[in-house]
Symmetry: C2
Subunit: 316 residues, 2 copies
């Protein structure tokens, strides 16, 4: 199938250093939406996914501050809540932008669960800090009571919970959205799926899938979603115009059209920052290795030109 | 189209008087899910909707308690969050129950927006109390700054915000789900839609739809959803086995098979409690008036028998 998956980074949804208000999120998305509407005029199917880091952090913080009155909810449940919240945000602003651009398409948010393997090595070595800081005594208690892994943050003088970041292996709702696209609905609908990488779930022996407290890399999840939908293109949208070698050093060079082999070599050499450009390049290469035709990484203003081959970093 | 919409009341999702924990919500849903799986074995399409009263109350309370650190989010956004949360809850337990019952169907949650009219008289006369209690001074300020309507609760000695409860007129995602069912996907997928009555939105002149702070009656929304999907049956699941006349008084009589005319008369005579059985009967009658074939109101244990015509209150 032809078609494009656009993966929106956190900055598309919330302005860095802003006040974090809903009004500001809407303003930010109102700047992003016309670009997506322009893409929607030309590309079908078009599917959107997004990160949820800052948003799930806010929900966790609220849950912590309300601890005396309201029971804690697991991280996977908070992730599900951000899918509703951010899906609604994107729907609201993109619906408006589509009408203004006279593009007759609507926006549909599907709550998405992403299966991870219970024997993923990440579960033995949690790496992602989440939530508030604890005292050493609290940390000891949490370790004992909940089996949490906590790490001492020397600079900030406290202990913090670590959660694992397992690899996404299957998107449980993928089949339904694929059928929806096959039935020709991809010309009229733009699905928003796998927000925050999807709610992490593991399969149980009884055939059920239970949520697990983990963080799924949203770029790897995007590669999975694009593959499961059989889309030909993956565009990861971030806050820089593309990937660069010698980034921020002498000899810095922004990459335009680039081959898989040199890119894989630079990735292996550590040219792309961990937790930033690194996972995006990794996701893009995985997408291409498994049958994807084109991978683009760029920022929102450059997205339409990047899709025309005139901006951003492009790999085919 | 044949097919059934099941509207789950709050009690199906959260035990009254419980601790409100996620574990408890799962246990409660784990009791409900096998019944739904049994229904799913026999009925297709099957669509599920649900209330969100207690859940949106919790999110609002957390948002209030975190006010010093985290900006307030509007009620419509909190509603969107509960759709993700509750959709995931129902998916988790229903997926398990379907596997156990060897019913080969999956569960899909669609974030749903419900259009209301900006000139709905409810906006001039808000009636639903939400959120914390305020002092008289705070109430005056909130009225002035945000245009809120507040009411003095004499018994509890404080002021409380009132939000409107406008009538649902259109479900924005209805078209996509209808097409999905038409494409034959209703045999394999069970959509969860319009949680909490849907996120209330109003249409703007530019063609966009903005969220509004309001509460949509989930039973009226259920009638709308069933109609938009062209389903033949609507089952409203609550905590009593059916509707009754002279409820709790001498001459109490539980209604089984009953005609539209006597039911409408009893409704007009105030036989069914406002905010409880009343809106359910109203929603059922509206569903039948607009082409629905059968309306059932009952509790979870009686649902399968009610659908066979052996329990609950049934109107054709």
């Amino acid at each position: 199938m032809v078609g494009l998956l656009v993966a929106l980074g956190g900055n598309a949804l919330q302005r860095a250093g802003g006040d974090g208000s809903w009004r500001e999120s809407r303003q930010q998305m109102a700047r992003v939406a016309p670009v997506l509407a322009e893409v929607a005029r030309q590309v079908a199917p078009l599917v959107i996914t997004h990160g949820n880091g800052p948003q799930v952090g806010v929900l966790l913080r609220e849950n912590e501050l309300a601890a005396a009155e309201v029971p804690a909810r697991p991280l996977d449940v908070l992730g599900a809540e951000t899918q509703g919240q951010i899906g609604f945000l994107v729907q609201t602003e993109l619906t408006r932008a589509l009408r203004r651009a006279r593009v007759a398409r609507s926006v549909l948010t599907v709550v998405s669960r992403t299966e991870v393997r219970p024997d993923d090595p990440a579960f033995r070595r949690p790496t992602k800090p989440v939530g508030r800081f604890y005292t050493e005594g609290e940390a000891r208690l949490l370790r004992k009571e909940h089996g949490w892994v906590l790490v001492h943050d020397v600079a900030r003088g406290g202990w913090r919970r670590l959660v694992p970041s397992p690899r996404p292996v299957r998107w449980l709702e993928g089949h339904a959205v694929r059928e929806l696209l096959r039935a020709g609905l991809g010309r009229r609908w733009i699905p928003i799926v796998a927000g925050g990488g999807g709610i992490p779930v593991v399969r149980r022996r009884d055939g059920g899938y239970d949520g697990v407290e983990a963080v799924i890399d949203k770029d790897l999840a995007a590669a999975l979603v694009a593959r499961e939908l059989g889309l030909s293109e993956l565009a990861i949208v971030t806050d820089v115009r593309g990937a660069a070698v010698n980034f921020g050093r002498s000899g810095e060079r922004w990459l335009g059209e680039v081959g898989r082999e040199p890119l894989a070599r630079w990735l292996a050499q550590g040219e792309f920052a961990e937790g930033s450009m690194g996972p995006k390049i990794e996701a893009g290469l995985e997408f291409l290795r498994r049958g994807g035709r084109r991978f683009v990484v760029t920022d929102i203003p450059s997205l339409p030109r990047a899709l025309r081959g005139e901006a951003g970093t492009r790999v085919t």
